[in-house]
Symmetry: C2
Subunit: 435 residues, 2 copies
Amino acid sequence: MRAQLPVEPPLEGESLDAILDDYEAVIAPANTHWNHPGFFAYFAISGSGPGIVGEALAAALNVNAMLWRTSPAATELEEQVCDWVRRMVDLPSDFRGHINDTASISTLLALAAARHRADPESREQGLAGRTDLPRLTVYTSDQAHSSVDKAMMAIGLGAGSLRRVASDDRFQMRTGDLAAAIAADRAAGNRPIAVVATIGTTSTTSVDPVAAIADLCEREGLWLHVDAAYAGSAAICSEYRPLFAGWERADSVVTNPHKWLFTPVDCSLLFVRDVDELRATFSLVPEYLKSGEREVTNLMDLGVQLGRRFRALKLWMVIRAFGVNGLAQRIRRHCDLAARLAAWIEQEPLFELAAPVPFSLVCFRARLGDSGGERDRLNQELMERVNAEGPVFLSHTRLDDRFAIRLAIGNIKTTSNEVEHAWRLLCRHATELAT
Amino acid sequence: MRAQLPVEPPLEGESLDAILDDYEAVIAPANTHWNHPGFFAYFAISGSGPGIVGEALAAALNVNAMLWRTSPAATELEEQVCDWVRRMVDLPSDFRGHINDTASISTLLALAAARHRADPESREQGLAGRTDLPRLTVYTSDQAHSSVDKAMMAIGLGAGSLRRVASDDRFQMRTGDLAAAIAADRAAGNRPIAVVATIGTTSTTSVDPVAAIADLCEREGLWLHVDAAYAGSAAICSEYRPLFAGWERADSVVTNPHKWLFTPVDCSLLFVRDVDELRATFSLVPEYLKSGEREVTNLMDLGVQLGRRFRALKLWMVIRAFGVNGLAQRIRRHCDLAARLAAWIEQEPLFELAAPVPFSLVCFRARLGDSGGERDRLNQELMERVNAEGPVFLSHTRLDDRFAIRLAIGNIKTTSNEVEHAWRLLCRHATELAT
């Protein structure tokens, strides 16, 4: 696409019509259409109508909600919609939420707060060159998201200080291994500070045993951060609540309405049990931002970024437009579609499930090829053929070091039509590859 | 406002009309209207029409541009518009730009890259518990933005490892003091790693002597990061280029089109001279994000956040709609309005300028009260009376420990009318307070 764009920026302005024509001719065709109902890759997401209207309004208002004073509406609506979501997913009332751009940042903030709890001096002194400080270690499963590693690198703990605890055959963290890893670090003179448990891992949406992990964290005095970036929305449906058991005991929980709550990117909610710990980690008020208001929330105190968009507006519009029941019904429909696909896979000898299906993602592979390497190559070929034919788009992962195709259902317009179409394509191309 | 919102989220969905009625009745009135031409606080910004259309389109596409594969259009347009901006502000061709949400993050990434250059092992090992590592120190002026302190806290260097070098009577960093601070740290066994110079500080838009600082950084082997978040857009105008002398020798430069280039928040450009240093700091590719493409840019490799909105679209629409000349003309007009206000202040005995006016921000105070404390109190009262009357909105800072009013011109719709109105209000209320 880039070759079609002029190297130099235009000197004179042009009409919006001319620009939109170029958008249609050059940019739109070069896109990967995440908002298409046949998008099944990564985690399928939705920019729903009300969310898009909310984003456009936010751009028109163009507030920077760093202080209450710089946008009381954005500040208070953010507090209110976060509390709405808290009620919807049934987290305890002491959790306070605020909105970040991404789960990468939400998790970074949570681990920075854990670091601050373990070593309040690091805020001023930093971590380098201190003789009083051992290595600070964090624990998560081998299925956890790469954003945990990135947060470790960013906040100076180091990717190597993240212990990747083995998961079991259902891709859930082994708590025995977790306890052993913590004990080994203590024996080695390191200081364990936090555990990141996941409800809905990226590869398979597996669910760590959060209640058992919470027990361990309590005993060991560790910060418990729960990454429910994708699956958190499913806690709106009461029948899925058992999968979330224990997250109410976390110190922090992240869930992303931009993943499975029909809100355009970006919108990541970080709930923390004691918001003062976050404030102690990050609050810093220069003179040009001092204001006289008392007993208001200044959202800039809760994180790294000073600039803050009015993200609450789109989330408010989504919740209002669909209602809690409408949101729950759509999430249930996605899970039902995934369950149907999983049943077809189990009935079709040419395919096998590669992981349990707790939510709306199905991991599977075709039984192709004799050796493991050959099977991997043929499954990759299968995925590429299906993607090339479209209009569906799948992605992959590796499970037990074997290639697996991922079909993630999450777009608000996805119906059984698209899932059936994908399944027909998979069957046809797998049959061709088998012969 | 919050008291007007229901405590519980709605169970059933509502029509968009009903939601927009509530928006008009409850949310809009509780806003601080950053996009109003009378908004003169902080840095005045603009959500221009083309930028708003771009944001709405981006929300409708709802791509996540983490990989080239996940949106070739968003990836390549980001590369191209960043290169357009690079040409517009006349940075050398070896600078590569990418878009972050905020300058807070852009500066954090730059300092993390500086940390990585000084100590590549920190990526894996972290900074804590290492006997081989001295304290790592960074230098900036006493006028630099609080985001530098926050970045230090976030990345584990510690706010106390940021040396705040004194500025002169024009609020520009004293390079002699900078050299002395670096020497003192070396003598104390600390390891200096970076300097953050500012072109357009937040309090006064003062300009550090970047060329002299670049000399020092070269001699000392330090990363030079230039914070031009606000003023960078002025480099589009050739007559302002002399103020940017030396930034072409930086390792990284941040400028925010969402500040003074008529682009809705958020849009912060980070230019780095050697993009591989950024990649070495942050690149990490889990299996579910591996893709076969070669020789493409995967933007997730350049920072902390995996999720990335299609921010390039709004910036592309703004540059296309106004053209380089149109943008330069609007920036010049803002600076001309500021110069006129500064001239009125100099001619009016009741007022005095509190700082030089290199760009479009005017810092001043009324000559009210006998003591310094009394003058501060009366100037604050003056600002509050003007803000209460409106429709203009001013903010403040402290300079040489004295209260100063800031009037920042930056909204695309601001004309001499709003500036004259603000000046009339200031004169009237100052006269009342003087008697």
